[in-house]
Symmetry: C2
Subunit: 542 residues, 2 copies
């Protein structure tokens, strides 16, 4: 009987597992990969995308190109019914759930993030997990340069030109290095920005960066970054952030509009919901890669806690969450699934790291290859060659090579392709004293205080008399836009640390048109100002 | 005294005007270009971006690269104070308006769209005006293929595989041709889609396509498109559309999830607000390109109505809105501004079209060059060469050439880079009888009826008894998500043609947490179901 093997996730673990399964099992099995995107993301290249040295399309490959003979389903995994052996997914714009049956299930969904212990980070920090994150970072950095070039406000300029990366692991170090290189190469086109006005920071909680690398290489990396004017703040954590400031665990307040968070790994909600045994935020598996107590469910990659020896307990006893390991896990997993189908015994996963590589930007890197250490250009060259070789498919390899070459030759494009706009309804954090808006500003949103308090100040245009008013939780401000006001008439500051809910003008007016309770609530305010109410209430009454 | 010349808009008109002004005036003038994006978009390449034969980054060039010696301000134009001679802009995230003074003002803001006479088009149709539009189209088409590959619902599959382009001008013809080529090249990777299941339509109100081209070439284009299985619906307009259907002026209902509208040109709101003399939706200028009655304000490109002779009145008496003309207008404008500064007389703009070019996809085109006609591959080759030559800067030219070559050689990437997600609050149109959602579907939104009516149907899980309820304007449904419901328990249909306001789950819950009147309104509903209320009301009370 044909076995159906369903793989959840198309990253390094899932994609390589599906390929290994196809090779191992041949036509005896039906293999299906379910992934939210229709492409494989080459994670190690994301910092390069974030810095524009390669375009987003070249850091990814369509799964259909590299998964020949394997079904690909672009869908979002909702849940798994382990008893009925079906995966429940939502595909496309369809709101009706679809059930996908399996005989063996492979979970390779990777990790998500959790910033809940650092208020404001979820709302204001940029991440480096997905292709979209990398694109957003690039657009954001260019936006800061454009803004710094034209603003007349020194404080705004300083905030725009301060770039902070949190986390000194591979992702953080590569991101900060690439970002600095991109800024340096862009500055000639921004004549009003002096290089000395740019501040780039790397914040790491541990006493050194690149914890996974030998001391010697980490030291080289530190020196290289500092030589390129990247400040290292070690033994420092993040306490909170707003869209204008970052507060460290030492209480230092950094005026910055760019915070990239490469920390805070946590299981994805869909994985947590599965109810499988978890430890350290990962699914507990046997050395065979089978989930404890479920011989037909397998897990690999970043979402799995894979013991490298019997009685594993220390951090180093488990496979690290790297592409290098995921690829090896995939091979072992395929063989074990084949054995399980035939009723033969499985083999434990075993692999020893061959080393580690990191790029530092500006054509420099550090490399530890089977215990031999390389630094500078040779390490960077090894880094590029290794990842080029690891890229799936010659089409992608050639594309990336061509683009790398073009990047070495010419000026890097400054084009700021827009990324997702700010969500029309969102939470914003302010620290005590922060200005929320000022008289004369554009009326762009309606604010509700969730926690904390704000102080609103109004100067009478005729008498010049100043009046102030404090607004606490549940209170709101900025609703004059119903009257058609396009400019603010008051100035609002946060009186204490405050969280607000902001709704854009357009959405506020939509609710006002559409929702009776909403309109009824604002009706007295409108009537006080003698404004005729728009919206369908008039239509139904009239 | 140094003259300050401010150019609004960085498209063909504005960008070439700024360059011509710099050349003509040298260092005697300060020139500043204000544009909402920091790049120049090569509009004629948008259909190629929409079809993925070039990446978005290669259809654009940073304005700072091609505007040497000219200031570039990335900002959104709010208004112009013609008496005080200042432009009021908003730059970056700054909400405080910035004033930019000028001695001469050049308006080159292009055109917007207005679909107000075709209900549903604004909400549901894709456009082809901006780079983001082109990206969105590509992502949307791939989404339909992915969905058609996995769906088990024949009606959904048919809708996903029907692609409609509205408007048979250059933009519509190139878009439909490129789109069809992309679909044809992608199908081998979607084994469950038969080529015969794909339907591609071009809808044009006139009795023929390519109205600006000679009959002979338009006929060739029609035949070519039809040979490639593109249906032409001529003498047909659009009456309305929803996200699943398009209704033609003949009353035909087309089951389609893709409507690309290349029609409906209209002035941008910012241009209308300026209060300048307008005709046919464009700013009325003298033959010198000066705005009537304002010798220090100039306009060119698509936003200007430029007479080609004295007493112009017929459509052909005015400059057509093409790149070819905009580039020539820019040169005349620069000379006239120079003359005006020196107090010398200006010269009228005069130019005769050298011809017209259109690509048809699949390496075929039509070209009218100084009266000589070309079709097929030669015309396509002329098209590519002409636009390559017109591209500003060798960097971009080389990039586009390299990418075109890679595209000719290999499989075109199917990567569906996500574009903007659906806005969390939006209007949706339904036709009478349309299903809005069904019991068992994912609870993804809260609905308010703006106009029309819906019928809600519920089957009692125990008795099997069916109850129905009609909800009219001001009524709402789908609020069970406050209770934590993730699946629908009812089925809702549109009882008549209906407009609803939809709010995503996440935003609904934000409002519920943050806004007192909102929560108070739903409180009885919650209490009836015995649910403890979340949100800050509890916190302040507790």
């Amino acid at each position: 009987m044909t076995q159906r093997i369903v793989v959840l996730g198309g990253g390094f673990g899932g994609m390589y597992a599906a390929r290994a399964l196809r090779r191992t099992l041949g036509r005896k099995a039906e293999i299906e990969v379910i992934n939210a995107e229709n492409y494989f993301v080459f994670q190690p290249l994301l910092p390069e995308v974030g810095a524009g040295s390669i375009t987003p399309a070249h850091a990814v490959t369509p799964l259909r190109f590299i998964l020949k003979g394997i079904s690909v389903r672009k869908a979002v995994v909702d849940s798994v019914d382990f008893d009925r052996k079906v995966v429940i997914v939502f595909q496309g714009i369809q709101r009706r759930p679809t059930e996908v049956p399996y005989d063996h299930l492979v979970i390779a969904l990777g990790q998500g993030t959790d910033f809940s212990r650092m208020p404001g980070l979820e709302e204001h920090a940029l991440k480096m997990k997905t292709l979209e994150d990398a694109r957003r970072l690039r657009a954001h950095v260019i936006e800061q340069l454009e803004h710094a070039q034209v603003t007349a406000l020194p404080d705004t300029k300083r905030g725009a030109l301060t770039f902070t990366v949190v986390g000194g692991g591979f992702s953080g170090v590569e991101t900060v290095g690439e970002m600095k290189e991109m800024i340096d190469r862009s500055l000639p086109f921004y004549p009003k920005i002096k290089p000395s006005e740019v501040r780039v920071l790397l914040i790491e909680f541990a006493p050194r960066i690149l914890g996974e690398m030998p001391d010697e290489l980490a030291d080289y990396a530190s020196e290289h970054l500092q030589k390129h004017d990247i400040e290292l703040m070690l033994k420092t954590g993040v306490k909170s952030c707003t869209h204008r400031q970052l507060v460290t665990t030492d209480g230092e307040v950094i005026n910055t509009r760019t915070v990239v968070a490469t920390i805070g790994n946590a299981p994805l909600p869909v994985v947590t919901r599965m109810g499988l045994p978890m430890d350290k935020g990962r699914i507990v598996v046997e050395r065979s890669l089978q989930v404890q107590g479920r011989p037909d469910v397998w897990a690999l990659g970043d979402c799995a806690l894979i013991p490298l020896k019997e009685g594993a307990s220390a951090r180093n006893d488990f496979a690290p969450p790297t592409a290098q390991f995921a690829v090896r896990e995939a091979k072992r997993l395929a063989k074990n699934v084949a054995a399980a189908i035939k009723g033969k015994p499985t083999q434990p996963f075993a692999y020893e790291s061959r080393g580690a590589l990191a790029s530092l930007g500006a054509k420099r890197g550090v490399a530890d290859v089977m215990g031999r250490h390389f630094t500078g250009f040779p390490a960077w060259f090894i880094w590029r060659s290794y990842y080029l070789a690891l890229l799936p498919g010659w089409g992608t390899r050639i594309n990336v090579m061509v683009n790398w070459t073009l990047d070495l030759l010419g000026a890097r494009s400054l084009v700021q392709l827009r990324s997702h706009p700010k969500p029309p309804m969102r939470y914003i954090y302010y620290r005590a004293g922060d200005r929320i808006y000022e008289a004369g500003d554009r009326s762009d949103g309606f604010y509700t205080v969730i926690s904390g308090a704000v102080e609103m100040e109004r100067t009478d245009p005729e008498t010049g008399a100043r009046t102030t008013r404090t607004i606490g939780p549940g209170g709101h401000f900025g609703e004059r836009m119903i009257l058609g006001a396009t400019r603010r008439h008051t100035t609002v500051h946060a009186a204490e640390d405050t969280k607000v809910l902001v709704m854009n003008r357009e959405e506020f007016l939509m609710l006002f048109e559409g929702l009776d309770p909403f309109r009824d609530y604002f009706r007295p305010y409108m009537e006080k100002h003698g404004v005729k109410l728009p919206g369908h209430a008039d239509r139904t009454e009239g």
